[in-house]
């Protein structure tokens, strides 16, 4: 097992280096001098320009800048934002819980709705139920997030007044962040109604973000179920006289779930991408919006740090999953 872990770690280190290289140099390939961008129409004179270049370290060769950056990263220092002058790591940690909270809710929504929909569609194959479900999921998959989100806001918030328009919590609650997860923080604070308010604020962003993964999961579950339902052992189970519910839930669904779980895992990437749009529309203070804003301002340390942190987390999650596979399936552990 230790050997397996070491092998996996051996894969991670070069990947990590690769990511630092990519983010560092790709950002510098984007046209646009951060100093000139910041100065805008007002411009900046040559002396001041040189001063600022020195301050940001741009006067050194790129390779030296990369070296300094790398040394910083290994000491846990991602640099300071050009704009806010605050440590990038600190800003990331303030905003990241909001993205995680929303993503977890999104994936929960997708699984809780998508899985049963897929199962029902498979059982009722060819009927009106099947067609309706699949039409809905195709529509969900095809809708641009920002448009869908605006429709949700206009209908549920402005017209019906059922949910708040945007934000994470009603402004009338004053909560100091402890964990950064609003649902937890509102519970800790003990303020009456705050938890419900946080929950209400989550409804629309969750639906907006979870719709596409929900549609994917529903379609995947349906086709996987259809395949399994045609297998011999299902026919045997039915012939033995097992209750239909038991055949579907125990014999069919369990086996159908394997590819579905892989798809759910892949949706995490989709969620992060979707989070950028969802966060902007719902004024959700997460990292997606933060990185996009930094790109617009050519805030190199923030872009580099943000992407590196996301890559690092994805790699860690992958490593964990690989290790779990290894634990579950000895064949993976001993291969190679």
């Amino acid at each position: 097992m230790l050997g397996f872990l070491l092998r996996r770690l051996g894969d991670i280190i070069p990947t990590f280096f690769g990511v630092t290289l990519l983010v560092f140099f790709l950002i510098r390939l984007i046209p646009g001098d951060p100093i000139l961008m910041m100065a805008g129409e007002r411009g900046v004179d040559a002396v001041r320009y040189a001063e600022l270049q020195a301050q940001y370290g741009f006067d050194q060769p790129v390779i030296v800048q990369y070296y300094h950056y790398l040394v910083g990263v290994f000491q846990g220092d991602l640099g300071r934002s050009f704009v806010t002058k605050k440590p990038v790591f600190e800003e990331f940690m303030t905003l990241f819980p909001a993205t995680v909270e929303l993503s977890i809710m999104g994936i929960l929504f997708a699984v809780i709705i998508g899985l049963p929909l897929g199962v029902i569609a498979a059982i009722k194959r060819g009927t009106i139920v099947d067609h309706t479900t699949m039409t809905i999921s195709l529509t969900g998959y095809s809708m641009p997030i920002f448009w869908w989100a605006l429709l949700l806001i206009m209908f549920f918030s402005t017209t019906l007044g059922w949910t708040p328009v945007s934000g994470r919590l009603s402004i009338f609650y004053y909560i100091e962040p402890v964990t950064g997860f609003m649902l937890i923080d509102t519970l800790i604070s003990g303020e009456k109604g705050a938890f419900v308010s946080a929950l209400r604020h989550l409804i629309l962003p969750t639906i907006a973000l979870g719709t596409i993964p929900m549609a994917v999961i529903a379609r995947m579950t349906r086709s996987s179920m259809l395949e399994v339902l045609g297998e011999d052992y299902i026919r045997v189970a039915r012939a033995k006289g097992l209750a239909p519910m038991r055949v579907i839930m125990v014999h069919a669904l369990r086996n159908a779930l394997i590819p579905v779980i892989t798809v759910i895992g892949l949706q995490v990437g989709v969620l992060l991408a979707g989070a950028i749009l969802t966060e902007t529309i719902f004024s959700w203070p997460g990292i997606g919006k933060w990185i996009v804003e930094a790109l617009g301002r050519r805030d190199y340390p923030t872009i580099q740090g943000g992407i590196l942190m996301i890559a690092f987390l994805m790699m860690s999650v992958n490593l964990l999953v690989d290790l779990l596979y290894g634990v579950i399936n000895p064949r993976i552990r001993h291969r190679r």
Binding site: P31, M38, S157, I171, F172
Partner: protein, 535 residues
């Protein structure tokens, strides 16, 4: 009996806690502003973005002199009066007494505002040796871009309530510069305390000012909370709490306004304006912005060296059509290089008429009967003074084609565009300007002065008559005389036509009907002192 009493007591206690839980809801007046983004920080001297000024200088701080709300007129702020020496190089400010700084979690002031705070504020930005000069990145872009380092010769504390600025040369707009956001006065005592504690950057993160509101809480990308300063020297604000609900998407801001989740919102989506106009709950305020969008001619390049050619091209441009198509109605035709909200705007200027026939003739008289070939540089970005430069360029291209001038549209990435136009690579180019301090000098000298050729004067137009007038105005303290000089300069400008002045954009501010006394700030800021909410 006893158990009943316990029940009642518990019930009462619960009620009391519920009431306490939402203290801002019932008793206090809270105004919610759906702001467009997070501030870069809370020290306005370090930043240049309007979003940052809205969150800091405009609520938390005061300046020596200030702009009267809703105007570009200068009124006393932390200085009650000032004297200018006869040669125009010494400005002596008499400071207001009894002004209190905010008491915050970090800081309890032991003294009132005085000259030490002025010294701290300006020495930090001016003197490289000041212990705070390098704190929080230490870049004072506005202080630099208003040429304050060259302008100031010395800053002297005369006594506790008198401060003198000595300048290297007379400069009438200096007083307007001091009303700008970067000149917001910070507490010197707080700075000393933080330096001693080893956390000087706290001064820029947890602001302590003398302004009408004090910062209570900031959560990045989510919310900023302020409470009214009970000791404010102009009297406490009419509202008790001010909340910025950070909402980056303009359509969502409008939805929040409709749903009553905020009272005021900035920067509406032009597509929503018609709906806002029709909305019974919303009052759509509007005013011409402190900006100008223009097309400049590179006056060092043939054929734009000739004023008749420039004038002919101006007459070929259909500005009304541009206002309709590019600004979607949210603009006004510009005839001067200044917006009408600035004093000394010359109302008597006659704009070049839209007359392609006359333009064609004028061009022929200037020696170009068959027209010529040139370029139009279009900015790659959307700016308040020009929402769609590409579209505008296409329209001008078509207008010029009608008089035989063939123009190719050119564009570069924004930083590159600014740099290349500065070098004078362009034939004609689009750009604009938003005023900083409401002084005519900030448009005329910065954009058209001979000194500015090679920097912001991208037309590279240096006219002795014009430059003489604006230089004279710069060194004259008398406002009436300055007005006359600037009006004359505008006449010269119009005659020589280094630019085609296209438009001043119109700023829209939707507010809910219950908001009372809100005024649009000509500088594009959002100011909530003086604003009230109807119960």
């Amino acid at each position: 009996m006893k158990s009943n009493f316990v029940k009642v007591a518990i019930g009462a206690a619960l009620l009391a806690t519920t009431a306490l839980a939402a203290p801002t809801a019932a008793s206090a007046k809270t105004l919610v502003y759906c702001s467009e983004g997070s501030p870069e920080g809370f020290n306005p001297a370090l930043y240049t973005a309007g979003t940052t000024f809205d969150a800091s200088s405009r609520q938390v701080f005061n300046r020596l002199v200030q702009f009267k709300r809703g105007t570009t007129t200068i009124v006393p702020g932390l200085a009650t009066s000032w004297d200018i020496s006869a040669d125009g190089t010494e400005y002596t400010f008499h400071l207001r007494e009894g002004v209190k700084f905010h008491t915050t979690g970090d800081f309890t002031p032991t003294r009132d505002f005085n000259a030490d705070d002025i010294m701290f504020t300006f020495m930090r930005q001016w003197s490289k040796d000041h212990p705070y000069n390098g704190v929080s990145g230490g870049s004072y872009e506005y202080f630099n871009s208003m040429s304050m380092p060259d302008l100031i010769k010395d800053i002297v504390k005369v006594d506790d309530y008198t401060v003198k600025f000595v300048l290297n040369r007379p400069e009438a707009p200096f007083i307007a510069n001091l009303a700008m956001d970067f000149a917001s006065v910070l507490s010197g005592e707080y700075a000393d305390n933080m330096l001693e504690a080893g956390t000087p950057e706290n001064v820029d993160l947890n602001p302590v000012g003398t302004g009408p509101f004090q910062l209570v809480q900031y959560q990045k990308d989510a919310v900023i909370r302020y409470k009214a300063n009970p000791d404010y020297w102009e009297g406490p604000a009419a509202i008790d709490n001010l909340i910025f609900a950070i909402t980056p998407d303009s359509t969502v801001r409008y939805q929040k306004l409709k749903a009553g989740e905020c009272h005021v919102m900035p920067y509406p989506n032009p597509a929503d304006l018609a709906a806002m106009e029709a909305d019974a709950d919303v009052n759509l305020m509007s005013q011409e912005g402190l900006n100008v969008g223009y097309l400049g001619y590179n006056t060092e390049k043939e054929p734009f060296t000739k004023a008749e050619v420039r004038k002919a091209l101006n007459m070929a441009i259909n500005k009304e059509a541009i206002i309709e198509a590019v600004y979607q109605g949210a603009g006004a035709v510009a005839k001067n290089p200044l917006p009408p909200t600035i004093w000394s705007y010359n109302n008597d200027t006659v704009d070049d008429p839209f007359d392609p026939e006359a333009a064609k003739k004028m061009l022929a008289d200037a020696g170009y009967p068959d027209g010529f070939t040139t370029d139009i540089w279009a900015m790659p970005v959307q700016r308040p003074y020009n929402p769609n430069a590409r579209r505008m360029a296409e329209m001008i291209q078509a207008d010029w084609a009608a008089i035989g001038v063939t123009a190719e549209i050119v564009s570069y990435e924004w930083g590159e565009y600014l740099e290349r136009t500065k070098q004078g690579e362009q034939g004609t180019f689009m750009l604009g300007w938003t005023g900083d301090n409401g002084d005519p000098d900030n448009f005329l000298a910065v954009l058209l002065g001979c000194d500015a050729v090679g920097s912001a004067n991208r037309s590279r137009w240096c006219n002795d008559e014009f430059d003489g007038l604006i230089q004279q105005a710069k060194t004259t303290a008398d406002v009436l005389e300055r007005t006359r000089l600037y009006e004359e300069a505008q006449t010269v400008f119009k005659r020589e036509a280094p630019w085609a002045t296209i438009a001043h954009s119109i700023v829209f501010e939707p507010i809910r009907n219950e908001v009372v006394d809100y005024k649009i700030d000509p500088f594009g800021g959002h100011i909530f002192y003086g604003v009230d909410i109807k119960e």
